[in-house]
């Protein structure tokens, strides 16, 4: 018997009112869209994607800073996902600078070891990724290596979303791999049903069921539906390395105002690896792209198809906003799977 079918039935039975659940993970969105999970859910159960795409929530000012470095002759190393993100004038892909796509930060260090030029790793990602960068900085990379930290952490953003109530959220599906590293104890502060979910369609359905169960019981706790990888404490070694190199900072997210404590800044002791210090970078405020509603998509109050440009002016080849660029962006994912159905 297919477990999915059984769980689906249970979900139908338990959804007895209008409910909105938010997930904050591009990989969850991929699974949901790829397996058309929304179409098997009852109509009154809505799943929205929040700010779960690290590339999408990186403010334009940080992309522009990378573009400026590239035009000053610095070699930029970063993930392929960032290449087409539009800055104020063009993208890393179109800027004509020396841009290297790398699998991870350790490969960016290898680039630096082979050149005398300055190499800056544009470092995006949540708590899944930040420890890999911390561990690398602790291996004493060469002097011509530094990072532009665009890291963000999830709990402060959830706190913001819950406190301002713009998107009415009845439950959160927590990002499985962020929680693999960080555990889920930090999420116990939130008085809302939550579940840590895996990435297979059945695992996501199970996560939804656990949320519904909490709602039926009238309780708010964090259930763990991904115990193979996630424990309450997470990977303590990775957390220690992360906090050794980074401290929490107040930063803006694309589509959000400054969220207290939601960024990761390189500590003074490692400032020689901080591109912001090294090159005296100042971030300029974002200029909103006319008509792009990425900001609303990221806050969970609009969906990609609400945008007039979706699939017309804005496509993965001609992206207007970052949500159409990243493999984790809601617009790109919807474009990929909806255009096939």
């Amino acid at each position: 018997m297919e477990p999915g079918k059984e769980i689906e039935k249970a979900i139908r039975t338990l959804t007895d009112r209008n409910l909105t659940f938010m997930h904050v993970c591009g990989t969850h969105e991929s699974t949901i869209a790829r397996s058309a999970l929304r179409s098997v859910l009852p109509e009154n159960l809505k799943i929205v994607m929040g700010p779960g795409c690290p590339v999408c929530i990186t403010p334009q000012g940080e992309i522009d800073a990378a573009l400026q470095l590239a035009s000053d002759g610095v070699t930029i190393a970063t993930y392929g996902d960032l290449l087409r993100v539009p800055g104020k004038d063009g993208s890393l892909e179109s800027c004509g600078g020396d841009i290297k796509i790398v699998q991870g930060v350790h490969k960016a260090v290898e680039v630096a070891q082979k050149t005398k030029k300055e190499v800056v790793f544009v470092s995006v990602g949540f708590e899944t990724t930040a420890p890999t960068v911390a561990a690398t900085i602790l291996t004493n990379p060469p002097d011509n290596f530094s990072i532009l930290s665009s890291h963000r952490t999830i709990p402060p953003a959830m706190k913001w979303l819950l406190s301002q109530g713009e998107a009415k959220i009845d439950g959160f599906m927590l990002p499985g791999h962020v929680c693999t590293v960080m555990g889920y104890h930090e999420y116990e502060q939130f008085h809302v049903p939550q579940v840590v979910a895996g990435f297979e369609p059945d695992e996501i359905l199970l996560g939804l069921l656990l949320l519904l169960q909490q709602i039926q019981e009238g309780v708010s706790r964090v259930d763990n539906a991904y115990p193979r990888a996630v424990t309450r404490e997470g990977n303590v070694k990775a957390q220690e390395l992360m906090w050794k190199v980074f401290s929490a900072s107040d930063v803006a997210w694309r589509g959000f105002p400054v969220i207290p404590g939601s960024g990761l800044k390189i500590r003074k002791a490692f400032s020689q690896y901080d591109a912001v210090e090294k090159f005296g970078i100042e971030f300029k405020p974002d200029v909103k792209q006319g008509g792009c509603i990425c900001d609303r998509v990221l806050r969970g109050i609009s969906q990609p198809t609400d945008c007039k440009m979706f699939g017309k002016v804005c496509t993965p080849r001609t992206p207007v906003g970052p949500c159409m660029v990243s493999h984790e962006g809601a617009c790109k994912i919807w474009h990929l799977y909806h255009s096939r159905t």
Binding site: P3, E6, I7, A10, C25, G26, T27, C53, P54, V55, Y79, D81, Q103, G104, V105, H106, K107, V124, G125, F126, T128, T129, P131, T132, A135, T136, L138, T139, P175, H177, V178, T180, V181, G198, E200, D202, E203, L206, L209, L210, Q213, Q216, E217, A225, P227, R228, A229, T231, G234, N235, K237, A238, L241, S326, H327, E328
Partner: protein, 83 residues
């Protein structure tokens, strides 16, 4: 970007480097963030093992579901008895 893929540790080399097997592909990954031995399963993200996978906790989704559902049935029965 938070995508992470399970793999088995096949070999541990000097300098926190491990060779892992994804099933059809082997690759060198960094082991800075985990304490592992050959034969362990890890989750790999951007070229780093980010956690050791626990085999004991590897309950199938279906098993978890059955447990959840059973527990709910029982609590429903209790509700019925109370009223």
């Amino acid at each position: 970007m938070c995508i992470a893929i399970p793999a088995e540790v096949k070999e541990i080399k000097e300098g926190n480097i491990g060779v892992v097997d994804y099933g059809e592909l082997t690759q060198e990954v960094r082991l800075d963030l985990v304490d592992v031995k050959v034969g362990d399963f890890v989750l790999v993200h951007v070229g780093f093992a980010i956690q050791r996978l626990s085999r004991e906790e590897g309950l199938e989704t279906l098993e978890i579901f059955r447990e959840v559902w059973k527990a709910m049935d029982e609590s429903d029965e209790r509700k019925v008895q109370v009223t």
